[in-house]
């Protein structure tokens, strides 16, 4: 999923300070799962903004809405009935959601309330870690299901480097050495031979090096 974290409250308040009627829009997908911009977080942020405004002696009208998905035009359309009653939109979705709203409602200022972080997996309750960088050419089939692009600090394809120490990366004592994990996994699977195959330099154009990416499925388009 796409992970995110709420922006500092003062940054959010600065964005919306010129406006009196705010449409605060959450998203029921990734940001709900990582507890950054779901219905619950929308309620908490609205309450915090309200407290701030009450303290300033001003009134603010905050309409809370959580869409099924902010990155799909069908759901973004649901804001049509509310848009006239707002001066600005504050979105708690990832960057994709914020941009979908900005594109649909061109006359309306849209501000992000979260910082979009990375594509990650849940490690345990409340902990998420990066697992994929969307390189566009998945290597997991030859690295034992552990991604060196996302999990090696240097994105090495033929690791490890000299910075590995007792299975950990030199950048921090709590960061696993991805290549150590890959070796252990290949060994457990009896696939050590794979480790000896030298990987050629990776083409990073599908990873974004070739400009903004797009998927076109003609069989699905209307």
């Amino acid at each position: 999923m796409i992970t995110a974290e709420q922006k500092p409250l003062n940054e959010i308040i600065d964005y919306i300070s010129p406006y009196d009627r705010i449409l605060l829009v959450g998203c029921n997908e990734c940001v709900t799962v990582c507890a950054a911009g779901g219905r619950k977080e929308v309620g908490l942020l609205a309450s915090a903004i309200n407290l701030h405004c009450l303290q300033q002696g001003r009134t603010i009208e905050i309409k809370e809405i959580t869409l099924e998905r902010q990155c799909d035009p069908e759901y973004v359309e649901e804001l049509v009935s509310e848009i006239d009653r707002a001066d600005a939109i504050l979105s708690m979705a990832c960057g994709c959601g914020v941009q979908s709203i900005a594109e649909r409602y061109k006359e309306m200022p849209v501000f992000p309330a979260v910082n979009t972080k990375f594509m990650g997996a849940s490690i345990s309750q409340g902990i998420w870690a990066e697992r994929c960088q969307g390189c566009g050419d998945c290597l997991l089939g030859i690295t034992g299901g552990i991604c060196p692009v996302a999990r090696c600090s240097k994105h090495l394809l033929n690791g490890p480097c000299g910075g590995t120490s007792n299975g950990m990366c030199e950048i921090a004592p709590d960061v696993d050495c991805a290549w150590c994990l890959i070796w252990e996994r290949l060994k457990a699977l009896g696939m050590e031979k794979r480790y000896e195959e030298i990987m050629e330099a990776k083409d990073f154009r599908p990873a974004g090096g070739g400009g903004p990416r797009k998927i076109v499925r003609e069989d699905l388009s209307l």
Binding site: P8, L9, N10, K40, G43, L44, S47, A48, N50, L51, H52, L54, Q55, Q56, G57
Partner: protein, 147 residues
């Protein structure tokens, strides 16, 4: 502000703090009437939004009173409550409020005296901190309107 009588909301677990309040009553131990008790089945049921709404509606202080650490009737509800209290304390600090306006307190069902003492101490603490920043603003506005 003279004669300030704070409004305090206490979310009390049915299995400990609420029973402790009952115990205080049975023992005729008085505690400040400023504390308004809300009984919850477990402090793990108290969400961050409940605490925020209490402040929004004008509470000067809020505390969540749950079972002793390790003694939660539902295993770890009081631990969850403590994390949530810390989360809301962080929001209050971001807003420029004193985080001491919110507290997590632990006690057992038999601690009637502790319940009364806690209510008294927390009320005194909030009296020292003064009214909620919302009320200060409203009072200022009121004074300006009159003058």
């Amino acid at each position: 502000m003279e004669n300030f009588e704070p409004e305090i909301v206490a979310f009390c677990c049915h299995y400990c703090a609420y029973t402790a309040a009952d115990m205080a009553g049975s023992k005729r131990i008085s505690y400040p009437a400023n504390v308004k008790i809300i009984r919850v089945p477990c402090t793990g049921k108290v969400d961050a939004i409940h605490i925020m709404k209490a402040f929004e509606k004008g509470a000067d202080g809020v505390y969540v009173a749950g079972c002793l650490e390790g003694d939660c009737h539902f295993k770890n509800g009081n631990t969850r409550a403590r994390y949530r209290v810390e989360h809301v304390q962080k929001i209050l600090e971001d807003l420029g409020w004193e985080k001491e306006r919110l507290a997590m307190i632990n006690m057992s069902a038999g601690m009637g005296e502790r319940f009364a003492r806690t209510a008294l101490e927390f009320t005194e603490k909030i009296k020292d901190l003064g009214p909620s920043p919302i009320k200060i603003t409203n009072t200022d506005k009121h004074h300006k309107t009159i003058s």
